[in-house]
């Protein structure tokens, strides 16, 4: 069965989108470390809970960016495919 050019590009884009989301591993591990260390800090010094939690949220948001970039790449590949226009 012959595959049309369009179908080939779409299929490769879907694989690419899936491969891009492997980047989700990184922020997952990083956020886990950040939250774990925050819990350690709170357990050691419970009165600093507010400060610790606030700083943790900023840190978690920062380390999440890489995952979000990967997600944006996947979204572009799936819903606004730039390669289809080049056929």
């Amino acid at each position: 069965m012959a595959i049309s050019n369009e179908a080939f590009v779409l299929g490769c884009s879907a694989i690419g989108a899936g491969a891009a989301m492997i980047a989700g591993i990184g922020p997952g591990i990083g956020e886990g470390y950040a939250v774990g260390k925050t819990i350690e800090a709170i357990a050691r010094q419970p009165e600093a809970q507010g400060d610790c939690t606030r700083t943790m949220f900023i840190g978690v948001a920062m380390s999440e960016s890489t995952g979000i970039y990967a997600f944006v790449v996947a979204l572009i590949l799936l819903f606004a495919n730039p390669f289809l226009k080049k056929l």
Binding site: R54, F57, I58, A61, E64, S65, I68, Y69, F71, V72, L75, F79
Partner: protein, 238 residues
């Protein structure tokens, strides 16, 4: 998943008003009415519940702004409160079955650009016109391109973070709904009455995910967005 639908087109022009904008207007009206309702009959010693709630929220934002930015930035509290309320409600409208306002890059990019303008304004104010451009050459001159990129990356990452979290939740929820719909059709527990389809499998499972993706992610990301705005603006004055 599609982009926001076009609600109507302004007659005579080709400016399209999307669903996002209309939902934004509804939220503005709702917040306006809520403020009117909460601040009726204010007393020096609060007697009504609505005044206690309003004071709690105002105190929360004031303490947050003073705690992160210092007391000289107390004038920022209304702006931060606006961002917070607008972002929280903009994400939570998805609980009503509407499209989240923040799942549109135009909205979040606009907010991030406002933050970027504030950052640049305060950098100009503290360093002066020449000092602002000189600050890119620190600590060594040849690193300037990297500093320019990181300056641009600030609003981009803020916009994509809020957009990505809410849109990601939306994509996962819609994937789950279509998967559960297919499952109910395979198990023959999908009933169609007229144009309304009831999938038995998708009755209870999505509620658990909805708590995380709509409620938790919406509130946390709104908090983080306003928090980052405060951190960046206050660090621009150093």
């Amino acid at each position: 998943m599609d982009g926001p639908k076009v609600s109507f087109i302004i007659p005579g022009t080709d400016i399209a008003i999307t669903e996002t904008l209309v939902i934004g207007w509804i939220i503005i009206a709702a917040v306006f009415l809520l403020c009117l309702f909460l601040t009726r009959n204010l007393k020096k010693i609060p007697e009504t519940k609505s005044q206690v709630v309003a004071e709690m929220f105002v105190n929360f934002v004031n303490n947050m702004v003073i705690g992160t930015m210092g007391s000289k930035f107390k004038k920022f509290a209304p702006y931060i409160a606006t961002l917070l309320v607008y972002a929280v409600l903009g994400s939570l409208v998805s609980m009503l079955g509407l499209r989240s306002m923040t799942a549109d890059l135009n909205v979040t990019l606009c907010w991030a650009l406002m933050t970027f303008i504030l950052i640049t304004y305060y950098k100009f104010k503290t360093n002066g016109f020449i000092g602002y451009f000189k600050s890119f050459g620190k600590p060594v001159g040849f690193i300037a391109p990297l500093n320019v990129i990181s300056e641009i990356a600030t609003p981009m990452s803020m916009a994509f973070r809020l957009f990505g979290n809410i849109a990601g939740g939306m994509v996962i929820t819609s994937l789950l709904y279509s998967a559960l719909g297919a499952l109910s059709r395979a198990l023959h527990v999908s009933f169609t009455i007229g144009s309304f389809t009831l999938d038995v499998a998708s009755l209870f499972v999505p509620a658990v995910l909805s708590i995380y993706f709509d409620l938790f992610a919406g509130c946390v990301q709104a908090y983080i967005f306003s928090m980052l705005t405060m951190v960046y603006v206050s660090s621009a004055t150093e």
